[in-house]
Symmetry: C3
Amino acid sequence: MTSHAVLGWCAGALLAIASASATAASPPVPPVVYPRLSEESAACNECHREQTPAIVRQWGDSGHFRANVGCYECHASSPSSPGSFAHNGFTVHVIVTPNDCARCHEQEAAEFRASRHARAAEILGSQDNVLAEVVEGNTAFLGGSALLASGCRQCHGSTVRVGTDGRPTPDTWPNTGMGRINLDGSRGSCAACHQRHTFSAAQARVPDTCGKCHLGPDHPQKEIYEESKHGISYAASAQRINIDRPKWVVGEDYSVGPTCATCHMSAASGRKATHNVGERISWNNRPEVSLRADLADLKLGLPDPIPWEKRRAAMKDVCQACHAPAFVEGFYTQYDALVALYAEKFGVPGKAIVEALKKGGLAGDTQFAQKIDWTWFELWHHEGRRARHGAAMQGPDYTHWHGLYEVAKAFYSEFIPEAQALVAKGLAAGGEKAAAAGKVGTLIDATLAGDDHRWYLGRMTPEEKAERARQREEFNRRYVTKSDPQR
Amino acid sequence: MTSHAVLGWCAGALLAIASASATAASPPVPPVVYPRLSEESAACNECHREQTPAIVRQWGDSGHFRANVGCYECHASSPSSPGSFAHNGFTVHVIVTPNDCARCHEQEAAEFRASRHARAAEILGSQDNVLAEVVEGNTAFLGGSALLASGCRQCHGSTVRVGTDGRPTPDTWPNTGMGRINLDGSRGSCAACHQRHTFSAAQARVPDTCGKCHLGPDHPQKEIYEESKHGISYAASAQRINIDRPKWVVGEDYSVGPTCATCHMSAASGRKATHNVGERISWNNRPEVSLRADLADLKLGLPDPIPWEKRRAAMKDVCQACHAPAFVEGFYTQYDALVALYAEKFGVPGKAIVEALKKGGLAGDTQFAQKIDWTWFELWHHEGRRARHGAAMQGPDYTHWHGLYEVAKAFYSEFIPEAQALVAKGLAAGGEKAAAAGKVGTLIDATLAGDDHRWYLGRMTPEEKAERARQREEFNRRYVTKSDPQR
Amino acid sequence: MTSHAVLGWCAGALLAIASASATAASPPVPPVVYPRLSEESAACNECHREQTPAIVRQWGDSGHFRANVGCYECHASSPSSPGSFAHNGFTVHVIVTPNDCARCHEQEAAEFRASRHARAAEILGSQDNVLAEVVEGNTAFLGGSALLASGCRQCHGSTVRVGTDGRPTPDTWPNTGMGRINLDGSRGSCAACHQRHTFSAAQARVPDTCGKCHLGPDHPQKEIYEESKHGISYAASAQRINIDRPKWVVGEDYSVGPTCATCHMSAASGRKATHNVGERISWNNRPEVSLRADLADLKLGLPDPIPWEKRRAAMKDVCQACHAPAFVEGFYTQYDALVALYAEKFGVPGKAIVEALKKGGLAGDTQFAQKIDWTWFELWHHEGRRARHGAAMQGPDYTHWHGLYEVAKAFYSEFIPEAQALVAKGLAAGGEKAAAAGKVGTLIDATLAGDDHRWYLGRMTPEEKAERARQREEFNRRYVTKSDPQR
């Protein structure tokens, strides 16, 4: 490392501390500016502008270029550092880690370290890893599952290893997963959002960047956002939200087109930007039954999590840039009610039935070797989450059609019949199994006899039946024509 | 209400009438311009620019700002008006309704009132309400289903109620559903499309705005549009269609990138813009079997619907900005043929079988308590619509893979076997059920023996079989390799 | 044809040859420039600017306008030419074919002719045509299936026919399918990508244009791209990639936001643009088990296909504009490993089981009349492709959740049980069927007993079981709370 670089890093650290105490309203100061490009970085450019021209051009458009932060300032390494290698007279590493970035951007790195994002690689667990490693995978790719490399770890992050050549092994890199566990022990990849060599804040603020991972059957946040009023506003006004501005405060620098970053990370009047993406999230909708966000963080081993009430208050601060308090309160009342509906009607009783089946030895002990394992997994992990996320972010199609509609369909037309079939099989087996099956059968019957489910047994009250008949009649009058349906 | 406001509203009404008679080609005149911002609105701004800064900035970018139409001009209320409340010395209502907007924009409000959009809250019926209220929901949220608030009503509209505090209850608001039934008896929410405080025409013209509701498994119009040549053109040229222009006539103000609004609502040479979104739609593809649009409107209680032939002629006027007549005729021939194929092969016979099963007491009388209820519902309500909408808007993937492919798969691999199983169960039950089951069995057999379905029974003619064998042979020669499949 | 036009076409041919030898770095020369608009085209405009105003405006914004290439230069025909008709004193054809375009753009037409795109109409075969013609369709639309016109052929291309009026029949046109077989015997439709009358290169470069066909359950390339880092970069920087430039070389004219065209068709340093879209593709992931691209081309009848190794090298040239060699090698290692995993664990054994069932007469001989036909078809044609395409284009959600997760779920919870049920049915039938069933049963058992599948039989080793238990325990500690699930 040259003395130039060391000097710069110290200056950077000081400036980073300075900027950490700036208010949301003051324009951010670049954390470090070098007087000129280092000789080492100039040497890198000499070849790379021919060999990888777009990388050099990306850098040329970046804030790093303007601050004389070049290739060497980030890729410099020492020979004793794992993953370092000699390269045309320099010692470099290919993977830049949060530790490297933190030399200038310490505040952001610290916020990130306190977030669930930093633990993304550790979230791969239990069912998910069985799926990837055993059910979908095998051990043919350097002893592990090829699916991990091209699938799971591209979002969650790999645990980087080096091969005998001292370079990252291809099963662990290329990888920019959010929770990557790096050779220097740090967690994360800043390039997950600030991708490649533009290191752009604007890139991290567009919703598509979050959609790299937050999409799909199990948590379609991107799709929900696109359906929501927020996403619609962005679609109509992406060119007018000054997304390139260093200072980017909603209500000051833009007033339409909120992106994911606006609500979850960026500054609002009286509220600072944060790299802890959970700082304003009050429900964790991941598990079978939603948890308050602080409890979920605690279980993940995050130290000293922010209480959920403070997180909700923080989000409300942001909401109120655009929405009056009654609107915000009303929204949260609706959202909480939907979380409760899912839990009470499907999440809690479904979980109880599955646990009773497993405990009674009625549903096998190899996960995913029985149909009901898939049914229940999708019910909560895919469909039940979609309903809750849909309500959280105002995408009604996801709350209903992709959400509770699918939950209810799976519950009544698959889950309950499959559970009843396992009970019947258990009863037929006699002995201990029959005893266990009897108990589960009683549990299922009690569940279905409750107010939430008795319609399924045909036990609506006469009043309820009359109301349904009245509605059906009115509906049919409008839509159904007996003769000549196509006119 | 101040005299200033009253004066403005009268002027607005006059100007609205004047603008109603303007031709499509003449640039629209703002319906009302006040000489200055009212004192009341100035007082609102005083606080709100601090409290809800983005709202005030949105308004500051709006046409309303330029016309001195401020907070008070729209939110003013009288103490006797339901939902009104005292607020810092003023009487206001939080929900602005089409009646409020119509004081200046009467023509648009009248067109909207004549449209299906205005009846969106009443379309929630029969199966859909059973789903939301009974199957998916319960009564834990102020006596109703939390799903209604976060799901159905966010598109269809709530029936707004006020609580004991005189404010809208959280189960009915926040809500900007298209057919919202307001406290003043009006139907609709102009903010469904002209959202928040920019009141922007451009916002309403972007396809994403329509995609707030017109997406998803049951009517993926947004997705179909995005696949279509129309959507592709928009994706490549959204910046070049002058979407912000007050006058926005296809062929005059832009010639590429048609949006939903272009074809369904906006002006073309010799055709005026309309807020009746059904004015150019000739098929209603909602039911099991498509209906002509005027018949469907009649059933919904819309007075004096426009004949479907006139609607089709109106759409053709728009098509011909970009397409010669032979192209347009050819398209409609293809579309009608697809609607007929779906109806003849699947819609009509499927409906007959379901009705016979229900009439014979063979399929239960609690909707959605049997698997076949879900199967048939998705077949027509999701898959059959996707096929028809795909053909309507030229998204071949939706016509085929998401459409008729799914219809056929469900029909042959689920619907028919499930119906046959119910027949078998009925026959086994003996008595009246057996008699009914015999009749349904005969109906199913006759259906399958027809030309559309006999392939399923293995009854292709020798010529047909030879043709299939020839095609399979040719295909296999191209694609299948016996040895060393990965080379 | 006027002498003016003939002269122009000859000049065009010469210029096209000249431009063919230009290097990627030199700005392209328009292949032909007429000194003035022909009298014939001027006459066309006279009416069409009133009748179809947007077409004329599109043309007015085009390079063709600037080169005085008007309506007549492309639509002129001779009376003996099929599909030609008299139109206000001129003989014209409505469908412009690659032969017409090739008069000025010979190089592009030749590249296209050598590509799979040119054979897209012939790819419709076997299962797909049975689906469209027999399973989903009937013969009610001019003797064929309405689904072909609105579905399959809109991407694959129709075989254009003319009716007794000499005009294209509506079952074969409007159509701009990629492999359209034209009346002049040529294959293709340049308007598939360069749509309508702007004839724009930029239009063909936006990813949405490819997404007209490359989307959906069977090959969601557009969706995968949108999730990928490449698509995310485009979403953030579409306005900064100079997509309108005639010369468009990655690393020279832009350095972020690669589109489909960037990697598959457009120029990079030292690599020319091509209209052969397969020139850089090394795997063909279409079939049950992936094939090397040259072998796949050979089977499609394409003469003298480029070896797959050369194609991969060509793609790597493009990758290296933005990525260092180790990154590119690592990516390909990951991709190849995923292709191998799918093949070894699911593709090869699944195919063997299906073929054994069919050969033994155990699964019917009418395709799609048995459930297992749908199960297996979706397993490889939809889900298995998604996994492979996801890995190819770095969309982890498609590799895993939409891909191998769905493959595994279908394999274990549907395909194997359905195959076992057919075996059981065959055994019960006795005779030859029972003998055949015995053999298939043995094959299934052997497959399941292998290392990739024995977990399903509960035959994990004690070490494997302990590892799973450990992971599940750790996971549960983080996520599952016994009491007060909602806190």
